[in-house]
Amino acid sequence: MAVFHLNVNGKRYEVDVDPSTPILWVLRDHLNLVGTKYGCGIAQCGACTIHLGDAAVRSCILPVSQVGTQPITTIEGLSANGDHPLQRAWIEHDVPQCGYCQAGQIMNAAALLKANPHPTDEEIEAAMNGNLCRCGTYTRIKAAIKSVAKR
């Protein structure tokens, strides 16, 4: 066990955990931030996507010991009132079915648009390819992203 100081959604946290613990489980079990989902544990489904700085990362394979001082943003901290343009677009397009993968989809899309505010269809597909949706909401996800990218 070791003590780590984390900056999550603009707040300071101190956790005492095994250094190998993926940040996903620190968020879920220790900080009670459960919006970030477990789906595969091997960075293949994208349900656990968070931002480390501005980059989208898979929190299920990122040990807490590697985070350092980089700020973490989770779905809970993406916007103050759930009003990030992508969150609004997700509601507008009524994207979710079961909803389980959607936090990861939104976090991944948010990082994409921050780096590339006007992506092509191909760039959206390439950037989003690591995020699985078993319900098959892909067409709505893309429509929601495009509606924000157009603005």
């Binding site: 789906g39 079915q97 995020n131 078993r134």
Partner: protein, 732 residues
């Protein structure tokens, strides 16, 4: 307006007396209500709630809570079922809060997610719940105003007496309405007066989903809660021999390691008790990561106790079975004689592998079992049946078992089989603490109740003029047959034979989105396409002619479809897809249609092949599910089923070697991804006032056929074996 006997007595509409201390203060508990997304509610939280019946509570300020009875697995019943109640209650949707009901067999019927039946079977009781509450409110107002009941009208949450000009919100009379006896009969709205049903309403959990609020079973927590994981045999046909947990037990945070037996040896299992691995190792500790690490440190010996099957063996067994006489499930006319005299016989064989459910939220459940009661919270599609299983296993009466349903990260049939609820309960009982059991993805994929492996051979006899003489299907699978002997084209062909077979297996199977249809539809629709081509006919005209025959002069009496509605979706898809138009170079277009789970779906797929990669440009869907309750959400379901069907037919496979699945996570198990999904999906509904039916399953089966037919048109080569990407020479 029609008057309908309530039929529902006090047992169904239990009314609680108003609590002395300010009514029923509900507040937002963990599982409690949510206001519909995407709209601001004009009303603040009330001081007092009055329970009108088991479905409806009305606040003193007019806010309405509607209980959603059925499990929400992504089919959106948590929005559409309350919409039906709200319609008959005649309330403004903005004044509605939706709350997930717990399992309560006293109030609700069929709290189950399966067979695309929630809307179809819930329709009447949901309407009656709303209509009864509306009637009670009108009665309360009529009494208070001393006017005839007929003169009290409602409009969007307001009671009105026009002659005297009096109006009042529902909240004003909620207390009085809650004290009235249930009326003998109540008026139901004329569908032409619907103002909520038939309009698109956003997912009521939408805001919570996009902001990451706790919603799902895996998100549930309780003070003092421990985390549990299980280890199961690595292969079907193996069982636990010995456990050495010395290392694991000493690891940080670990509370206990022990074995459990999910079902007792003398227990007679229900249909929902399927679980191949009955003896498990349970690891319990403080945090998920600690428990996971200890699970990895277990030293377990597993011993083979039955045959360890492999996919190569399955294929050999299926080929052998297919060449033998099978069980005849339907014979019309004299198909054997027709095949003997045929000028030409077309015979094609179609296969598909086992599939895992792969709900993105793995199996999990919270349990807290004490001497007094058992409390369970989590994702289940079948709480009512599992309550009985839990009662038997824990030796407790049903009333001591409390099951609450969370939102569920997918179901697709997997959560019908609730062995993980029993496992969580047994673990909680042993450690005497609240426990949340979590499966890893590998546990989830390798401890499945899978879609079976299937095999179907179709034969058609043609005369010298290329006219269809007879039709023969012989289908089977491991361990069940996909055959529906009375579905189309049965009823449309004079000489018809349907045969079935199956091969036993140690691999456990279960309902997987549109069971059996999820294979046989695609096979049948691909064969009909090839048959139409051989007969020189347009694939839609060919089907319509058969349906015309089934409508005017059906063969046999047991045909499982309405030919007119079946033809209706084909005609609609023909029109909407502009069937027959010239297509751009390289585009292949395929059509299919199917009827299952009470709804009709036809699809036209347009695709091209780019360097071996299928690019699905467009899917045009025509759907007849009767009256459409929530059109945009219904379209979402059709889009999802379409993507899911295309994905599984093209890419997915669970293969076995020595009893073990060869894919246990998404690195090797391929699910369709963003770049592979259709670029566009159009959904068109048949304008209908028929009884509404479901959409969770019907859009999936036919698209597999439409896809296969489009691949043929684009490549010139037909594909008979799923996953297509692996078996078509020009793909991959």
């Amino acid at each position: 307006m029609t008057l309908v006997k309530t039929k529902y007595g006090r047992r169904s509409f239990i009314k609680t007396t108003v609590l002395a201390s300010g009514g029923m203060l509900l507040g937002f508990s963990w599982l409690a209500g949510c206001r519909p997304s995407g709209q601001e509610s004009a009303t603040e939280w009330p001081d007092e709630w009055f329970e009108i019946n088991g479905f409806i509570k009305i606040g003193d300020n007019g806010l309405v809570t509607i209980m959603s009875p059925n499990p929400e697995i992504g089919q959106n019943v948590k929005t559409s079922m309350p919409m039906i109640v709200a319609e008959e209650l005649d309330v403004d949707w903005k004044q509605v809060v939706v709350e997930q009901a717990p399992l309560n067999t006293e109030i609700f019927t069929r709290q189950l997610a399966g067979g695309s039946q929630s809307i179809r079977q819930g329709w009447h009781s949901l309407r009656m719940a709303g209509a009864t509450a509306r009637q009670l409110l009108r009665q309360a107002a009529a009494q208070a105003w001393q006017v005839p009941l007929e003169e009290v009208k409602t409009q969007a949450g307001t009671l009105k007496h026009t002659p005297s000009g009096r109006t009042a919100g529902y909240g004003t009379f909620a207390a009085a309405a809650a004290r009235l006896p249930i009326p003998e009969e109540v008026p139901l709205k004329d569908p032409k007066d619907f103002r909520i049903i038939g309009t698109s309403r956003k997912n009521v959990d939408g805001n919570k989903i996009v902001t990451g609020e706790p919603l799902f079973g895996i998100d549930y927590r309780r003070d003092g809660m421990l985390i549990a994981m299980i280890a199961h045999a690595p292969a079907f046909g193996m069982k636990l021999e010995s456990l050495d947990a010395e290392v694991a037990r000493r690891m940080p945070g670990i509370v206990d390691v022990f074995t459990i037996k999910t079902f007792a040896d003398d227990y007679e299992r229900q249909w929902c008790d399927t679980a191949a691995f009955n003896e498990l190792v349970a690891v319990v500790g403080q945090t998920t990561w600690q428990v996971w690490q200890a699970k990895k440190a277990l030293r377990i010996k597993w011993a083979p106790v039955a045959e360890l099957e492999s996919s190569s063996l399955h294929r050999a067994r299926m080929r052998a079975m297919a060449s033998q006489p099978a069980q005849v499930l339907r014979r019309d006319g004299n198909p054997e004689a027709m095949f003997r005299k045929a000028a030409r016989i077309i015979e094609r064989t179609y296969t598909a592998p086992f599939l895992a459910h792969n709900t993105l939220e793995p199996m999990n459940f919270f349990a807290h079992v004490t001497e007094e009661r058992a409390e369970l919270v989590g994702p289940t599609q079948t709480p009512e049946f599992m309550e009985k299983t839990l009662a038997a296993r824990l030796g407790m009466p049903l009333e001591k078992i409390d099951i609450q349903m969370t939102r569920q990260g997918g179901g697709f049939g997997r959560r019908l089989y609730g062995h993980f609820m029993v496992e969580a309960a047994l673990i909680s009982k042993k450690v005497q603490a609240p426990v949340k059991l979590i499966y890893t993805r590998e546990d989830d994929m390798s401890f499945g109740n899978y879609r079976p492996a299937y095999y179907a051979t179709y034969r058609a006899a043609l005369d010298e003029n290329n006219q269809l003489l007879a039709f023969h299907v012989c289908a089977g699978g491991i361990p069940e047959s996909p055959l529906f002997p009375n579905r189309f084209p049965a009823g449309a062909i004079d000489h018809y034979l349907a045969e079935s077979w199956s091969v036993d297996s140690n691999i456990s199977i279960g309902a997987w989105r549109a069971p059996r249809s999820n294979f046989i539809a695609g096979a049948e629709q691909a064969f009909l396409d090839e048959l139409a081509e051989a007969m020189g006919q347009d694939p839609i005209e060919f089907r319509l002619a058969l349906l015309e025959r089934a409508k005017n002069d059906p063969v046999g009496a047991d045909n499982d479809y309405d030919p007119a509605r079946y033809a209706g979706v084909l005609e609609l898809v023909r029109q909407k897809s502009d069937w027959g138009k010239a297509l751009p170079e390289g585009i292949g277009r395929g059509v299919a249609a199917y009827y299952c789970h009470n709804s009709y779906v036809a699809q036209v797929v347009d695709l091209r092949i780019d360097a071996g990669k299928p690019i699905i440009e467009n899917v045009c869907c025509a759907v007849d599910c009767g009256l459409v309750v929530n059109p945009d959400a219904a379209a979402n379901m059709v889009e999802g089923g379409t993507v899911d069907g295309i994905g599984h037919a093209l890419y997915s496979e669970l293969s076995f070697r020595d009893g073990a699945p060869e894919q246990t996570n998404f690195d090797r198990y391929r699910l369709i991804r963003h770049s592979e999904a259709p670029k566009n999906i159009e959904v068109h509904f048949v304008d209908s006032h028929e009884h509404p039916t479901g959409l969770g399953e019907p859009p999936l089966p036919p698209v597999m056929g439409a896809l296969a037919n489009a691949i043929y048109r684009a490549t010139g080569q037909r594909v008979y074996h799923q996953p297509f990407i692996k078996h078509h020479p020009l793909l991959g």
